[in-house]
Each structure stands twice: as structure tokens, then as C-alpha cells.
């Protein structure tokens, strides 16, 4: 599904392009709660806090290192499914699934609190259009 005019989310006074998403294990047995993740065109890949791995029932594997502005962090990559959820009028997550990406490699980084949707595996599925004047964005598969 094409996503038009998804509104920016304002948190602590700054509006950013963010999406409600749900991560699931590839076998579909375990899913996270809806998570508000920021679209980050500067991130090479999708980056989530380390212990989301446990929530998905995964064990540690495939160690990697991620370099960010805070330094180099230990990370573990796994393939997951990502569902994009609708945003309700008050800014919270709705139940409706707007789009599903079956296999995305996500890096789960230690000592990281942020949920970032980056280029590889996520943004490379879409034509991503930002409208900072209207504070909205669109994702066209």
C-alpha cells in the first residue's frame, strides 16, 4: 500500500518523520508491541535497542559493529519482519497494517535506546518523499 501524508511526530518540541512499526520473528511466533521508529536517511541500516532481540525470542548471533555519532557499538544482526502501522488522530498507533516488509536485516545495538529505520532493508523498498512545510511524508513502494 502506498502511504501518503503520514504526519511528522513532534516530541519535546521537534517534529521528525517517524512511523509506528511492529517487528516480528520470521516464523511469526513472536512480535513486539507497536514501536515509534524514526526514519533516518543518514543511517545505513535499521538500528534498534539490543534487548528487542530477546522480545523476539532470538538468541545472540551474527555479531557486528555499528559506528554511530556516539562511537562504535557492539551489535547483533537478525532478519525480522517489519509491519508499518497506521497513526491515529492523537498520534498513537492504530491496529491497521499499512505495509509489510517480509525480511529486513536489523542491527540490535548495545547501549542504544533509539529505534531507527535506515537505508538498507527499509528505505530501499520505497520512494521516500519528505514535505517539511506540511510536516508530512510519503512512502511509495
Amino acid at each position: 500500500m502506498i502511504i501518503y501524508n503520514y504526519p511528522f511526530t513532534t516530541l519535546r518540541g521537534v517534529a521528525r518523520p517517524m512511523l509506528w512499526v511492529r517487528l516480528s520473528s520470521l516464523d511469526g511466533k513472536k512480535s513486539t508491541e507497536p514501536i515509534l521508529a524514526q526514519i533516518d536517511t543518514g543511517a545505513d541500516a535499521c538500528i534498534f535497542p539490543f534487548d528487542v532481540l530477546y522480545d523476539l525470542g532470538y538468541k545472540l548471533n551474527y555479531k557486528a559493529y555499528i559506528e554511530s555519532f556516539t562511537g562504535t557499538g557492539e551489535a547483533y544482526s537478525r532478519e525480522v519482519m517489519i509491519e508499518i502501522l497506521e497513526m491515529l488522530q492523537d498520534g498513537s498507533a492504530g491496529n491497521r497494517v499499512l505495509y509489510q516488509i517480509s525480511i529486513v536485516t536489523v542491527y540490535f545495538v548495545k547501549e542504544n535506546k533509539q529505534f531507527l529505520l535506515g537505508a538498507k532493508g527499509f528505505l530501499d523498498n520505497f520512494v521516500f518523499t519528505l514535505d517539511y512545510k506540511k510536516r508530512s511524508f510519503s512512502l511509495v513502494p
Binding site: 501524508n5 516530541l11 509506528w20 508491541e33 507497536p34 528487542v52 488522530q89
Partner: protein, 111 residues
Amino acid sequence: MIEILFIVLGSVVCLAGILGGTSIIMRISERKYVNNLAKTDRAIPGNLKTLDELFVEDKYQDKLVAISNEPEKRIVASADTYSELLKEARKAAKNSFCVLFVPKKGMIYSR
């Protein structure tokens, strides 16, 4: 000669009709999610708190936070790690909840 011309013209018209029909069907089946909140996110009805209004207090900055919508929108837990947050939120929330990171106020995030 005229019959051949008619057959060719008829084929062209039929082909154009088929292509046009397919295009219309494809346009109808191309589902779109148009969210009009972008125009109205600064005019939320009075009884609905926006996300930003929930995190006025500084104690939530630089934290992972769980919010619940039922019976009303409220913060059910906050923590420094995702595991801690889930533990607290599952105790406190009667129903489902959502998770987000609240950035520091005044912090310039540069990536």
C-alpha cells in the same frame, strides 16, 4: 484491401480498449493510505492529548516510555532499557501498550 484495413483498425481499437481497461483496473487496485492528519495535527480535538503533551515533564527525557490508550492515553512505564520497560509496562498496563524513545529537550541530534 478494405477488409484488411478494417481488420487492422479493429485490432488496434480492441488493443487500445484492453490496455485502457487494464490501466483502469490497476489504478483501482492500487490501494492508497492517505493520512490527512498532517493538515490537522495542530488541531486535535480537545479531549485527545497529543504525544508531545504527554511528555512535558523532564523526567521522561532520554528514556524509553510505554504508553497505553485505554481507558485513556497515559504513560504506563519509563525505563533506561527495553527489557526493564517491558517488565514494568506489562505489570502496569491492563491492555496493550506502545513503545517510544523520548529525546532530550534542546538536544540537537545529528547523525
